[in-house]
Each structure stands twice: as structure tokens, then as C-alpha cells.
Amino acid sequence: MINPPSDTQPAWCPGCGNFLILKVFDEAVAEAGLDRRRLVLVSGIGQAAKFPHYTQANVFNGLHGRALPAATGIKLANHDLEVVVTSGDGDMYGEGGNHLLHTFRRNIGVKCFVHNNQVYGLTKGQASPTSDLGFVTKVQTRGVALEPVRPLALAILEGCSLVMRSFSGDRDHLRAMMVAAFKHTGGTVLLDILQPCVTFNRVNTFRWYKERVQPVGEAHDPTDFDAAMKLAMQWGDAIPVGVIYRSGRPSFESQQPVLEKGTLVGQFEKAAG
């Protein structure tokens, strides 16, 4: 048998935004004082979904598009765990679209870090749900005709409790957003992380994002639904980044009477003696 050499190094292209996201993630975990033994990283499939393998944490690397229900099951079984979903735009906004919608509605305490590079990488360059109109690929040969998914607007509309956007090229901003996500206790967090794909997206490059991202001003009130929606729909010459929306809804797990007596896993162990 010809056995290809195995490699424990990240399977990402040189220059991929994922490297920086990984570095910032580790910094944010340290800054938030998280106990990594209680940290569970859940992902689906794609290049971003390999992320959990390259840091120190418990890992549930599941099926394409199904990270959110798996994360939901983990959080319900043991709500003392910090459950973070880290996956790409194709996995989260495409294949897992129905789960995304209903996870926002459910508002369970799962933190979603979506590496959004507006293109499919692992399958080699097809359109993603967030590709801009007219984006040409070997499959979308005449350019994308589908209206792009607006993940932040969807999250706000369906009641996600904390909605944020950042850019992999702004380390301090991204770290601050991740720390805010870790500190949030009110339910589902969406952190959409804009990130260049150096191999397959020649349009939305590092520079393209860099010239467009604009931190939301101090004046923005994240509890103002209409103002948040307006920012969430903003795309093109100026792309707002920062804390876009806070719904103030109670988390799903905080509304389960059964969980008032502790985690399910703790209750099982108590009953089993």
C-alpha cells in the first residue's frame, strides 16, 4: 500500500486567514480565562471546520452542515460546557441553513464563529451562500444569480441574542469580539468573521475587506432592532463590523425547568449513584 505522509500541521493554504483566526482564538481563550478542559469545539465540514484540530480543546467534528444540532445536544446534556461552533460559510449558511434559522430561534447558549470567505474552498472554488451577485466560478459560469444570504439580518430577525461581525485582518477587533462572545451568557452568539480565501476568491481579497470594514460607532445602540437591521443589511463600499445586535432574550437552557436541578449529565450521575 502506498501510504501518503500524514501531517498534523494545519491543512490550510499559506496566507489563509484561518491562521490568524486560530492565533487570535488562542489569545481570546486566554484573555477570557476559559478552562480548555470545559471547552468543546464543534464543527462541520470544510477547511474552516478543521480548525478544532489545531488548538487544545474537546472536539466534535461532525457532518457537513450539522454542527449546530450537535452543539445543541452537547449544550443540553451539559450546559456547564463552553460550546463553540467554528466552521465556514458553506457549512453554516448553506448546508446547515435550516439549523441556523432554528438555532437562532431556540437561542441556545452556543457560540458560532463563522469563517466567511464568500467561496467554497475545499470543493475548489464554487459559489457560497454569501458570494456576491455576479461572482464567476467554474460552476456559476455566468456569475452568481442568487441573492446572497445576509447572515446578520437573519440572526437578528430570528432572535439570536448576540450578533457580531469582525475581520480576520484586524486582530485586536477580532479578539475583542471573541472575548465578548465567550463572556456572553444569554444564548446563541453569531460572530461572522470576514476572511479572504487566497486561492479561490480573487475578488474579496484581504485588501478588498480592509478597505471596506468600518467599526460601528459608539452611537450605535445594539438593542435597537431597526438600527441593527440597517447595519446588518449594509454591504459593499462600507461593511460595518462590531457588536451589531443584542436581543435580550433568555437562553433556551435557562427556560428548561428540568435544568434548574443542574446539568442533565450531573442529574444522570446522581440518579445512577
Partner: protein, 567 residues
């Protein structure tokens, strides 16, 4: 055969057919009669034609039959459709004023709704009048029915109890002594306890310590979801309706990874959507249990009817090769115990287990010894992860020590091919090590496999094979054929995968010291292609059988099997 009698209550959906049937079951079982009940219903909320059969006897009744001794018809359509299926000498109770010009002939006309309104103040109590009328017709004393009303309507107040009792008495008075030649089993003895397949599965799951239940509603699996939602506070269960079946099985994967027993339930179409998740459970080595309540397909098929058509599908669902076990209970009592066993085996071998029921088993109510309701949590076979813990240590048995996240060591699962520590790999040797490790669990699963149960004569010339819910009708067929002088026996497979070939061959009579090969073997099952015969071949059992199949959406009956096997 002992005396048995079948009461059929028929009307439109929403008319109280089920309520009347439930009243009859509860009251008759209290009187020490053995009861078997099954409903036949349509996929609609109002209207149509539904019926509820209550068959009673002096010994355990294992199935239904086509002919009714007493038909209670609440609508002209019910009368027209079911009249031809009333046994000779049987009685028909029809909801009409006997003095009305259009009162049908040959019926015992009782204005059920009118009496209910007059006596109880509401037409809703027509079911109490109907039940009373049947009791009167059969010459049964009303005391058990009265006691049931007192208990069931305690929270609704004395007035409700009194009104229902009065309605039942009025109904009984109308038909007292009208039975004619109908021979009714004599009540007596201790109350008989009964259970439905649905409730037995639910209680089995709750007492085994299931902590998360999630499903997308689908007939005929929804009953278990509803049961567990009702039991959630008592047993400390979170019940969540998932957005789809993919979400349901992936939530279960997440929950069992985190350390709690969890399960989901669905029917064929939903199970198809779960196939990828089932494969994930195989790869992740997670103790996932799926209750697959079958109905006829393909596609949407007949949502409220029964079938055993998904056996080969359950056996082969999911891409790739991974171990699994499949159980198929025959009675509510077995359903209770096998739900627990499904969870135990899943945890012992860290692999998916499927419990196959169907509309018939889910809905039927029959004699069942009282089922233990006290929680008795299963063993999860978990270890505590130390600093050097790896999830997929290669072992002889194929079972690696399993830990839940949150302890000292990290627990890593990957749906990709992975190394022993759970990291993604494309190293083909590591992949082979893990694939072989997983498949070694088949040996352990096979050793733990349940042998088929034998019923009937040890020196049988004719052997019937069946699995799952066909147990009851097959058993009645054996009794009928034996009464007719045939040397007959049956084997019931409550576990259909894996099979232990030697144990099956011994049970059939092909091996062992007392081997006595039957002259004829017939495989009785609810599908068109006799799928269990394929399973027997796939398992290398070396038993060939003739098929006897039914796939019209209705369950087998003992009469049906006995007649066809002799034809």
C-alpha cells in the same frame, strides 16, 4: 380456543371513537377480562371513517380479527362499510332513534347523542351512553365502568362523574338483555393490567435514564415523543422538537458524546433523512438509539397504516460499513425491555442501535404485566479521561474506553478517518486500524445477540418464522392450527441483527442433540419481498423458508395466517 368476542366502534374522526374504545378497554380489563385493542384510522383530523376494535377473552388475546361480534356504528357510512364484517349472529348498535322513519333494519337503534344530551347535558357523553349500551347488551355489570369514571374524572368534579354514570346507565337500560345468542366471556378475577406499545417504549426509555429526547413528529412514532414529553418532569428529561430529522439525530449524537443517554424516534421517511447521522454515530462510535416506527412506503405511503417494510433499509442505512444492532419487539412488554436493552447494547458497544416497531405495535393495547416505573439508570460504560487519554485506543474487542468531555483529558471525535487520538488523518494504515477496530465490535454484538423465542410443539412439522409485531398474530395462528390437529410451532425474532447462526439453527431444529428439522418452514412478515428471508441469508444462517406476506397496510390476524398457511 377460549371464548372471545370482538366489539368494533366506528365513526368519523373527532366523534369519540377512540374515547369509547378507551372506556371499554379500561372497564373490561378492570373486570378481569383479557383485552386486546387496536385502532384503524385515517390520516385526517376530522371526518372519514375510523374504528376501534376491542377483542376480549378469558385468556390473553394476542391479536385482532376481521369480523366483529358487536358493531357500534356512529354514522351511516360506518354502518354501510362495516356491516358486511359483522359475524353471523352478531349485533349492530346504531346511533339513531328506533322510531325514526329512516332507522335501518336489523340494527339495535339507540339515539346515543340524544340520550347523552338529555341525560348528561352534553352530546359529548355519547361515548358513555355507547359504552353503557354495549355493557347492557352483553349483560355486564356497570360497577367497573362506574369506578373507572370516578377515577378518570376525579379532577373534573362529582357532577361530571355523575353525568357519565347516568349516561352509561341510560345506555345499558336501552339494550339490557338484547344480546340474544352472543356468547360473551365471563368476567371475574383480578383486574388485568394492559399497556400500549407506545407507552411501553416510552416508559422503557424513561426508566433507563434517557435524558434528552428529540424528534421531528412523524406518524406512527409521535406517540413515544408525546409520552416522554408527558413524563419529562417526573424523570428529568429534556424533550425538544427538532427542526428536522437530521437535527434530531445530530442532537442525539451531541448529547451522548457529552455523556447522557439520549434517543430519537421517526418513521421510514424521517429515518431516510437520519441515515447520514447513523453513519456518523458509527464513525464517532456513539451510543445512538433510533426508534423506527414503520408504516407503508414508498415515500409518504399510508401514514396511519402498518408495515414491516424497512428491515433491509434499517440494516443497510448509512454510508460506509459500521456495526449495528436491530431489535424488533413483539409485544408491549417486550418493547419495554428491549428499549432498555437497545440503550444498554448501544452503550456497551458504542455504536448505533435501532428499535423497530410499527403502527400496529405502537397503537395496540394488550395484557401486559405491570411495568416497573422506578428509574433504574443504565450503565454508560464511561471512564474518566486522564491527561494522556485517547478516545479511540485500539483494543481486541474493538471497544475503546469512552470518556465524556469536561474531565481532565480532552475527548476528540472526528467524522473523517482519524488516528487513535481522534485527529483527522489521511494515513491509510491508521484508517485501517480504526476501521478494523470498529468492525471487531460485530463479534461482541453477535455474542450478545438474542436467540429467537420458540412457541408451540417441540416436534413441529410446520415452523412459522416471524419478527417484530407479527408475534401476536403468529402465536394465535399456532394455537388455531394446533387446535385443528397440526404439529406446529413458531420462532419469533425480537432481535433481527446480528443473528447468531448456530443459535438460530438449533432453535429451528436443524442442529443440536434433539435436532428435528421441520418439514416446512414459513416466514410470515408484513412486506412484499419477504425481507427477513434475505436477512437470514445475509447472516449465513442456512435456513430457507417459504414467504407468507401481507402488505396492504393492515396487520396480520391469527385467522388470516392460519388460513393462508393451510391453503
Amino acid at each position: 380456543m377460549t371464548t372471545d368476542l370482538l366489539i368494533r366502534v366506528a365513526g368519523e374522526a373527532g366523534q369519540g371513537v377512540q374515547t369509547t374504545g378507551n372506556l371499554l378497554v379500561a372497564a373490561l380489563a378492570r373486570m378481569g377480562l383479557h383485552v386486546f385493542a387496536i385502532k384503524s384510522y385515517l390520516s385526517r383530523i376530522r371526518g372519514g371513517l375510523n374504528w376501534f376494535d376491542v377483542r376480549i377473552g378469558n385468556a390473553t388475546v394476542y391479536g385482532g380479527r376481521e369480523s366483529a361480534d358487536v358493531l357500534v356504528a356512529l354514522t351511516p357510512a360506518a354502518l354501510d362499510t362495516l356491516r358486511p364484517h359483522v359475524a353471523e349472529g352478531g349485533a349492530i348498535v346504531f346511533d339513531a332513534d328506533p322510531g325514526a322513519a329512516d332507522a335501518p333494519g336489523g340494527c339495535l337503534c339507540v339515539p346515543l347523542a340524544a340520550i347523552a344530551k338529555e341525560t348528561g347535558g352534553s352530546a359529548v357523553m355519547a361515548n358513555a351512553v355507547a359504552t353503557g349500551a354495549v355493557f347492557g347488551l352483553l349483560g355486564y355489570d356497570l360497577s367497573a365502568l362506574t369506578a373507572y369514571f370516578a377515577e378518570a374524572f376525579r379532577n373534573k368534579g362529582d357532577e361530571t362523574v355523575r353525568a357519565n354514570v347516568a349516561c352509561a346507565e341510560a345506555g345499558a337500560q336501552r339494550l339490557g338483555g338484547a344480546a340474544g345468542g352472543i356468547e360473551a366471556p365471563q368476567p371475574g378475577g383480578e383486574p388485568v393490567s394492559v399497556a400500549s406499545g407506545t407507552d411501553a417504549v416510552g416508559l422503557g426509555a424513561a426508566t433507563a435514564g434517557v435524558k434528552l429526547v428529540t424528534a421531528y413528529p412523524m406518524t406512527p412514532a409521535t406517540g413515544v415523543l408525546t409520552y416522554l414529553a408527558g413524563a419529562a418532569d417526573d424523570y428529568g428529561i429534556v424533550v425538544e422538537q427538532a427542526e428536522d430529522e437530521m437535527a434530531a439525530i445530530n442532537m442525539v449524537c451531541g448529547a451522548v458524546y457529552a455523556g447522557v443517554p439520549a434517543l430519537t424516534m421517526t418513521s421510514g421517511g424521517g429515518f431516510a433523512l437520519m441515515a447520514e447521522g447513523l453513519s456518523l454515530a458509527g464513525m464517532h462510535e456513539l451510543p445512538v438509539v433510533v426508534i423506527l416506527a414503520q408504516r407503508p412506503g414508498p415515500a409518504t405511503g399510508l401514514p396511519t397504516r402498518t408495515a414491516q417494510q424497512d428491515l433491509l433499509f434499517a440494516l443497510h442505512a448509512g454510508h460506509g460499513e459500521f456495526p449495528r444492532a436491530i431489535f424488533a419487539p413483539g409485544t408491549p412488554e417486550q418493547a419495554y425491555h428491549l428499549t432498555r436493552r437497545a440503550l444498554v447494547i448501544a452503550h456497551r458497544f458504542q455504536t448505533p442501535v435501532i428499535l423497530m416497531t410499527d403502527q400496529y405495535l405502537a397503537d395496540l393495547v394488550m395484557d401486559t404485566p405491570p411495568l416497573e416505573a422506578t428509574p433504574k439508570p443504565i450503565d454508560r460504560y464511561l471512564v474518566a479521561a486522564g491527561d494522556d487519554y485517547v478516545r479511540y485506543a485500539v483494543t481486541d474487542s474493538g471497544v475503546s474506553p469512552r470518556a465524556a468531555p469536561g474531565g481532565q483529558g480532552f475527548v476528540l471525535l472526528d467524522s473523517d478517518a482519524h488516528t487513535a487520538d481522534g485527529h483527522i488523518t489521511e494515513d491509510l494504515e491508521a484508517h485501517l486500524d480504526q476501521q478494523d477496530k470498529r468492525m471487531r465490535k460485530v463479534d461482541g454484538l453477535t455474542q450478545k445477540a438474542l436467540a429467537p423465542d420458540r412457541y408451540g410443539r417441540p416436534d413441529a412439522d410446520l415452523l412459522l418464522l416471524c419478527w417484530g409485531s407479527t408475534y401476536g398474530p403468529c402465536r394465535e395462528a399456532v394455537d388455531r392450527l394446533r387446535a385443528a390437529g397440526q404439529k406446529v410451532a413458531m420462532l419469533h425474532f425480537a432481535q433481527v441483527w446480528p443473528l447468531k447462526p448456530g443459535a438460530v439453527r438449533r432453535a429451528v431444529g436443524l442442529e443440536g442433540d434433539d435436532a428435528r428439522p421441520p418439514g416446512r418452514i414459513v416466514c410470515v412478515e408484513g412486506n412484499q419481498t419477504s425481507q427477513f428471508r434475505t436477512v437470514l441469508r445475509e447472516a449465513g444462517v442456512g435456513v430457507e423458508a417459504e414467504p407468507l406476506v401481507r402488505y396492504d397496510g393492515l396487520p396480520f390476524t391469527g385467522e388470516d395466517i392460519a388460513e393462508r398457511v393451510q391453503a
